[in-house]
């Protein structure tokens, strides 16, 4: 298992989801980046492969900010490690 840093998330958003880099900041929500629920499912599949831990499909919503998402992933990875 590995951690997901904010920078990792940014590079996934830019490279795999064609988000414009100039829009990205820690406090912006996925919804504001036009990442809807279907894209979020796809994003979590990509993140799962990065961190090599299962993350529930509903762990992150479009209203969450990027920094909150990084925290949620960290919590999930930690929880998976202690199970």
């Amino acid at each position: 298992m590995a951690d997901l840093t904010y920078e990792d998330l940014v590079s996934i958003l830019v490279e795999k989801f064609a988000v414009q880099p100039e829009l990205i900041r820690p406090g912006i929500t996925f919804g504001d980046l036009e990442i809807d629920s279907l894209f979020l499912v796809e994003l979590l599949l990509v993140v799962e492969r990065e961190v090599q831990a299962a993350i529930p499909d509903d762990a992150i919503s479009a209203q969450d900010t990027l920094e909150r998402a990084v925290d949620i992933v960290r919590e999930q990875v930690t929880a998976a490690g202690t199970r």
């Binding site: 414009q20 279907l38 499912v41 599949l45 492969r49």
Partner: protein, 411 residues
Amino acid sequence: MSAPGVQPDIAVTGIGLVTSAGIGVQASWEGVCAGVSTARRDPNLAGLPVDISCTVPGFDPVRHVGRRSRLVHDRFVQLAVTAAREAVADAGLDPHTWDGARVGVVIGCGVGGTATSEAQLRSSLRDGPRAVSALLIPMMVPNMVAGHLGIELRATGPNLVTATACASGATAIGTAMQLLTDASCDVVVAGGAEAAVTPLIVTGFAQMGALSANTGDPAAASRPFDAGRDGFVIAEGSGILILERAADARARQARVRATIAGFGASADAYHMTTPDPDGKGARQALLAALARAGVGPDEVDHVNAHGTSTPLNDAAEGRMLRAVLGDRAAVTSTKGVVGHALGAAGAIEAAFTVLALQTGTIPPTANLQALDPGIDLDVVAKEPRHWPIEVAVSNSFGFGGQNAVLVLTRA
């Protein structure tokens, strides 16, 4: 030309094309009139028994469609969006101001997002089910091409995809005519889209013996009606037509490129892939289309044939055309230049037929050097023919014995 008060004529007010001859109507038409095949060796097919195709040169989804296109669109949708934007602009229409509820979308597609399916199957076999994209299904289902065009064009009227194999594009145009005739729509975005030049699909067609095996000389492989033909060359592309009732088009002072006067459809009910050798089903569709148009067989000036370059199709189609139309019409197959784009072919060829009517120019059949002695038709070869055309026919026949014939007339 239809009897007044019976069924309205349908005007073509815009066209859009993305073909192996180029992106856009002008590049496609110039390419097809030059009469030189666009078939090439295809690096994506390396190592396969047939490794040649007609693909769209220089197509960039980000530039031609949008930043996020690669994430959400299979290539068949990307080609359709590009052609549809050109067609709507060509018609002088604006999706921001039209009444979207009165705009329908009918697109023919024979295969769908097979490139996406094949890539996802490889991922899942390699890395397991969690490697499968959540976007697999919305990217690969064939109806999504009409769905995406509805979103793109704010068109909320009837929205569907027709699947009659290689006749799909012509079936879509015929279906669109009906939606206009019965006043379900005021405008229909009609056409076809296909991007199935993938290792699996090409191998499947090769295993059937449908493809030309002349891989040593790709540019000579597609040779409709030629004595030396041995199969088709697979292609990708999209053709989109904007259709309106002719009276409506006149009322908004639109430029009418041509009129779709007739459509006929039929089934061979003979064999799943072999055409009826007597062309009975094709003849029935042609006669129905002529009857709907109110024109006689002896009035047809030009035929854009299905002309796939397979031995069986061209022989059966050639006999059928000679029997129904005689030898007066100047026949061409534009598949010599742009190959066979399957579900998009009928729409691409309808657009070429519109341009032939409008310009009085019939593109030559590429690679036609020695006409098959069994085909007694005036097939245009080598050079474009400048020829006044009032009435033209565009034939499309699909595996499954599904036939769709359009009759177009000069505006």
